[in-house]
Amino acid sequence: MHDRSGDNILPRRDTSWGRRLREPRRQGAIIAAYFAQFLKSRMSYRVDFVIDLTANLFSLGVQLTVLTVLFGKIDALRGWSYEQVLFIYGFSLLPLGLFNLVGVNLYNFSEQYIIEGNFDRVLLRPVNSLAQVMFSSFGINGLNELVLGSAVMIYAGGRYGLSFSAVDIMLLPVFAVSAALIFAGVFLGLTSVSFWFEDRMGLAPPVYNVIRFSRYPLTIFHPLVRALLTFVLPFAWVAFYPAAWFIGGEEFRLLALLTPLVGILTFTLAYVVWTRGSRRYTSTGS
């Protein structure tokens, strides 16, 4: 009944172009399916959903209040006006929102996947392991940040008398996505460290804490700090440089244009570390 001929050979990977072209669609469909399932399982905890959103709004509200209170005492912060700083802040929420949508799992990776051994399950499936981890749940709060960030940007830009050219409008999403890639890259790199050091949180929290300061005009910091944020931990590119394209002087325009490059570079580097790390994965028990 059962044809046993050739049972000793499994089919090779299909490397035809038809297959390769279908692959992104397949991965997209899987991600969409993951998202749908996430919403379904999330809806069974509706109260928490509301609480999460509220918590997120609180945090945004507090940050805006602090900014407003500080600027109540001065006219400009080292030459940067309230509107400019507000604009940078608004912009910074866009990449952060995008990252939070799919990056929450990187933040909890060590605990959820390595210590609790759930990475086994990920590795058993014929989908890229990183994609599975990133898309296994979504930080809906990210939407909050996207909406609020846009609103703050529009408000600040309006008060500043900013006018967007066609190029600006095209660059804005490019910058936002590139900056999100930087976030993803940085946290992916830090997460991958947990393949070497089994510790619950690792380096992610202190780095996450840097984000709140990368939203200010970097010229207020010591040149050494600025250099660190430009070359070592490239958070200068998650808010200040790209935002300065719109509201800063000429001096920042080249730096702003480098954002996509930095994004791709950071993420690629982190992906290499991730791949090497996952080979070291030891699972739990024996």
């Binding site: 509220t54 945090s59 602090v66 005492k73 001065i74 690792g202 700090v225």
Partner: protein, 290 residues
Amino acid sequence: MPETAITVPGNEFERWRRGGAATAGLYVSFARLAFLKFLAYRLRYYTGVVSYTVFVAGNYYLFTALFASRPAGEELIGGLTLAQMISYVILSWVGRSFTFNNIDRTLAQQVVQGEIALQLIKPFHVQTVMLSEALGEALFRLLMFTAPILLVVVPLFGLSSPPDPALYGWTVLSFALAFLVNAQLNFLVGCLAFYLKNIIGVIRAKMVIMEFLTGVLVPFTFFPAWFQSAMEWLPFQAISYVPVTVYLGLRTGHDLIISLIVQAAWALGLFVLGRLLWSVSVKHVTLQGG
């Protein structure tokens, strides 16, 4: 014979009652275990020091820039000099590194995962155990976080001495009370897990609000008077704003003593509230069946 069958276990229970010293010993060993538990997470300890240095550095530059940008002719912002402001930043964050703990999260996890049932059948009071563990954590933090952070941050950014050397002692006392108030508040938040299935969001909201309302982010003197007097009526300022302003010498004489008494009152009041909420919550759990 049935009588003895009843009275004998009664006597047995009597014998089970621990003496005061044994009870204290039990809770001390919980504190010791908490201390050891934190030692086990090596990387977290190293990165914690970095984390707090980042907080202090970021705020140092922010407030330095703020003072550099103040209108000509004005010395103070929010009633503080630049030197005071820098001390404020250092002390509020360094203080937080000591008072902070996760008992809300720990308790919430135990409740959500049902482990709390195992705690309930053991001969101790969970609230006291949680507080002992928080104390162990605080001692760990004092030695492993707060002291190294101070050693890094003070030479880097400069902490000015208080106007009166006696204030060192009062500040230490005030921070100890701050720890107690914070621990009681966290216990209360953790108890909410009995009513909300997943309280991570609540805890996150609490952290944000606490940073703001305890005065860690911005001194209350930056705010309008109505805000400051509103804060007087809430427990949050006891966690950071009070001890820091004690150090800066903004509370003297009578004021100082009152401030410390209010802190202690909050610690006690919230402890009693915690006991009450706990017993109500436990009843809730036994009625709901977890």
